[in-house]
């Protein structure tokens, strides 16, 4: 900044509005750069948020969102009294719990184990193998699952019948196997990838802490418990909060692809229900209400998790 100008500003106070305009004008190119992105966020993120008002209306395509009639909480009443409501609620919660309570710790565990490997080459080799599935689409993951698990010549069932001599297992059309398969797919696709952020945090742990622990006679396991884990506690908590935020909309494509008429009882979640009812049957308002209900619950999860994190003296995400 030019010192002369700086001095001038101190003695001569410009009118606020003009000042603001000058400031804006100075940065006009930066605002111009932001234009495509800003238009994107407004039109494709914020206008749909405004469109959520249709959850309280009876949307008719020829009237549009604005002119359609207000119906209050009618759609929500219908949702809460729908026979599938508690079933979906339970399915969503259980799959969400699988995701946070089972899947999430597995990524941390793999990261901790990888961190203990001293040979860089071996470590990188393992990382290469376990990162790959992350880049496959859910269609491919579901496709491979189908081909491996089908009762018509699938590898797994072929093995089962040959070894045990019993009947093939109907993995794909079974209520009991639906959730385990979803969890296994998730682990296969993303457990390796999920380690990246923890490994980065682990790389920053002070080596002297390990030396001190060793001098005190701490075993490897104790070092892990008393040095490594506390060091990445902050990262774990932040990622956990973010994960809770998407607690209710995790794996829509995945679930959608694995869902069929037979496992719907255990597999239907709010998103798949909203799609089936809303788009396929044209009940736009009701479907929006289902989506809004889910989003609000998700938001409450984040806020609560963040509060709890701050209670425990952690940073949180906002």
């Amino acid at each position: 900044m030019n010192p002369q100008l700086e001095g001038a500003r101190r003695t001569y106070v410009r009118p606020a509005a003009q000042n603001r305009f000058m400031h804006f004008w100075k940065h006009r190119w930066l605002y111009f750069f932001m234009l495509p992105g800003a238009i994107f966020f407004i039109i494709l993120k914020y206008i749909p948020m405004f469109g959520l008002i249709m959850a309280f209306k009876d949307y008719k395509p020829h009237l549009g969102v604005m002119k359609s009639e207000w119906v209050g909480l009618q759609h929500f009443e219908r949702l809460f009294s729908a026979p599938e409501f508690w079933q979906m609620f339970r399915n969503t919660m259980i799959l969400g719990l699988y995701n946070t309570v089972l899947f999430f710790p597995i990524t941390i565990l793999i990261a901790l184990l990888l961190n203990e490997i001293r040979s860089e080459l071996y470590k990188r080799f393992i990382q290469t193998l376990i990162y790959i599935p992350h880049f496959l689409s859910w269609v491919v993951v579901a496709g491979i699952s189908y081909l491996l698990l089908t009762t018509e010549g699938g590898l797994i069932n072929e093995g089962i019948t040959r070894i045990t001599g019993g009947a093939p297992v109907e993995f794909l059309t079974s209520e009991a196997w639906f959730r385990p398969i979803i969890l296994l797919q998730l682990i296969w696709k993303d457990a390796g990838w999920g380690t990246i952020i923890f490994l980065a945090a682990l790389a920053g742990v002070n080596v002297q802490l390990y030396e001190a622990a060793r001098i005190d006679g701490a075993s490897r396991i104790r070092q892990l418990w008393h040095v490594t884990l506390p060091a990445i506690r902050g990262v774990i908590i932040i990622l956990f909060i973010l994960r809770l935020g998407s607690f209710l909309d995790l794996g829509f494509e995945q679930i959608f692809l694995m869902l069929n008429a037979i496992n719907r009882e255990v597999g239907e979640v709010f998103d798949t229900y909203a799609y089936r009812i809303g788009l396929l049957q044209g009940q736009f308002s009701y479907s929006t209400a289902v989506g809004l209900f889910k989003s609000v619950i998700g938001l409450i999860f984040v806020v609560l998790a963040n509060k709890i994190a701050k209670w425990f003296g952690e940073e949180g995400i906002y």
Binding site: P36, M49, G51, V140, G153, G154, S219, I221
Partner: protein, 285 residues
């Protein structure tokens, strides 16, 4: 890093190496199996003969080839648009002195936690007349808020003195971006370009939501039809049926191999960049 001369420590090391080795193999074996069986027309789970017929077959069908074409088109164009708009916005937001910056950041962050959902977004896409056009596969996911925030942090790392001195020399904002900031951020741009590309190539749900005409379907939709629904052939409706029934499993495997091939090609590049930590700039906004 932490050597352990104790017996217990050595045991731990051996066990750890073996566990991770097994894990890595388990993660990799499905690929090997898919590739091996894709070279077989047998219907058993353990193929014993080698053939290229499956690949000849899928490359002779117009539907599959066309869907690969659609996917390539949306991936190349979509990635370019996404990367351009993301980096422009990220650069502007990397200026701490920019008036309104924190408010804009907050608005972007909020979209990560809350959104309008399927139907309202669908209606907006419809109002923009993008239904049943390939634009609907590129525009609704144009910018990832997360990539934008990380890229902004990356740009913030470019020394301010460098930018200021260029400006004193009379460089235009556009010149600064093109000649200084972007070249210095090439690894990050490459990484996010590849992430966008993989995301667009892999997207499935947007396609069934927005695209009605079969000739505009990207490869993931066709893939699902062949592998999961397994109804009919992948040729045009005329010659459906018999060939697929004959090739069975092998053709499905081959279709998976071909549709993941582009990702396997870019994977080494991806790995090089994300390993450098391009994604790790921040978790926080």
């Amino acid at each position: 890093m932490h050597t352990s001369p104790t017996r217990q420590g050595r045991m731990f090391d051996v066990l750890n190496h073996v566990t991770l080795g097994v894990l890595g193999l388990i993660m990799f074996i499905p690929f090997v199996y898919v590739v091996i069986t894709s070279f077989s027309t047998e219907s058993t789970a353990w193929p014993s003969t080698f053939t290229l017929d499956t690949y000849k077959y899928i490359f002779s069908t117009s539907t599959f080839i066309r869907s690969i074409g659609v996917s390539f088109y949306i991936t190349v164009l979509g990635t370019a648009l996404s990367l351009l708009s993301t980096s422009l916005m990220a650069y502007a937001l990397s200026y701490r002195s920019l008036p309104g910056r924190s408010k804009i950041m907050l608005m972007i962050l909020f979209t990560m936690l809350f959104n309008g959902g399927m139907i309202p977004t669908y209606l907006v896409v419809k109002e923009m007349h993008m239904i049943d056009t390939t634009w609907s596969l590129m525009i609704p996911g144009l910018i990832s808020a997360f990539y934008l925030i990380v890229l902004r942090d990356f740009f913030s790392g470019v020394p301010l003195e460098l930018i200021e001195s260029a400006k004193i020399d009379g460089a235009h904002e556009v010149t600064v971006l093109l000649r200084i900031v972007l070249p210095l951020s090439l690894p990050a741009l490459a990484a996010f370009g590849l992430f966008y590309a993989v995301g667009i190539w892999n997207q499935y749900f947007n396609a069934i939501l927005y695209i009605n005409s079969p000739e505009k379907w990207p490869v993931q939709v066709i893939l699902r039809q062949i592998v999961i629904l397994a109804s009919g052939g992948i040729g045009d409706s005329g010659n459906a049926g018999e060939n697929v029934a004959y090739y069975g499993q092998g053709v499905k495997m081959a279709v998976i191999v071909v549709s993941t091939f582009p990702i396997m090609i870019v994977y080494p590049f991806l790995q090089k960049h994300f390993a450098k930590g391009a994604l790790l700039g921040s978790v926080k906004g």
